[in-house]
Symmetry: C2
Subunit: 153 residues, 2 copies
Amino acid sequence: MSRKAKPDVAQILEIGRTCVCFNVRKASRAVTHVYDSALRSVGLRATQFALLSAIKILQPVTVTHLAQATITDRTTLGRNLKLIEKKGLIRMLSGEDLRERNVYLTERGEGAVAKGISLWEEAQTRLTEQLGEERVERLLNDLSLLVEAARRV
Amino acid sequence: MSRKAKPDVAQILEIGRTCVCFNVRKASRAVTHVYDSALRSVGLRATQFALLSAIKILQPVTVTHLAQATITDRTTLGRNLKLIEKKGLIRMLSGEDLRERNVYLTERGEGAVAKGISLWEEAQTRLTEQLGEERVERLLNDLSLLVEAARRV
DNA sequence: CTCAGGTGAGAGTATATACACGTTTTGTCG
DNA sequence: CGACAAAACGTGTATATACTCTCACCTGAG
């Protein structure tokens, strides 16, 4: 009784069906594939397009701020920024506070976002057609609540 | 007019709000953090617990089969399997068809799943409390449809 | 002013993910 | 039977992710 019994397959099946983590990650892989494919022709990954978009909105913005806004680990973000900096899409400059690095879009970065938008729109439209607009809206809302919930845990 | 104009911030804001990819990935990061933290005391990542669970259900199973079942790239899966093989949690043996590698849980793998279950349950329960059971059920259902939709695109 | 503690960022390490390409084995058809 | 297609898997390379540790810089208490 006190000895931990081998879990049976039925129990694991139920975990697989109900686990929020597994299922969100699985969906993340499937959806990322759609957007990565769509954006390939401009040489951007979905993550990079997302990052450029966030910078477009928040610029000038520090690394830590951007990390909080995108729910990304600061060190992860730093490495992702380095990649798009090497492509010449952003600049990172120290301001008055020498610890900070302020991130800006370059002209090329602006152009990349502009080119990405139409490709993004096509992917988003095709996916929305498959899923239905109402369901997409509901899903986005639930995902937003999920992020809040996860941060409170 | 034909010249691509700089997209304005309002448009990008709308993209950030509505993009299924950004928002699923963001949720994936937030949720993974919860489950990774919960499982840390047994030395498993959420991904690894998921993988062991899938093997528990499907064993013996080939790499390609497991990849299809988990919506993971075959080469990604191969590398993830190598990590839990090194920990002694699974075995990979060739069968009659020498191209195939059949994956099995070891005794230690069974034990790891058993230990992981209670930790998983705690994380899942805390998250469900924050989000509400009905919303979790709806979200899981919508995510499942999303995966199907993404695969049809 | 000084320094103790806090803050912003990078480096080291490890895992997760996937595309392009190559290798071995199997199956199939003339 | 032999050549060629198909299947299963691994390797090389690149990006995404995050934890731990370290360092530089800033700021406020005394």
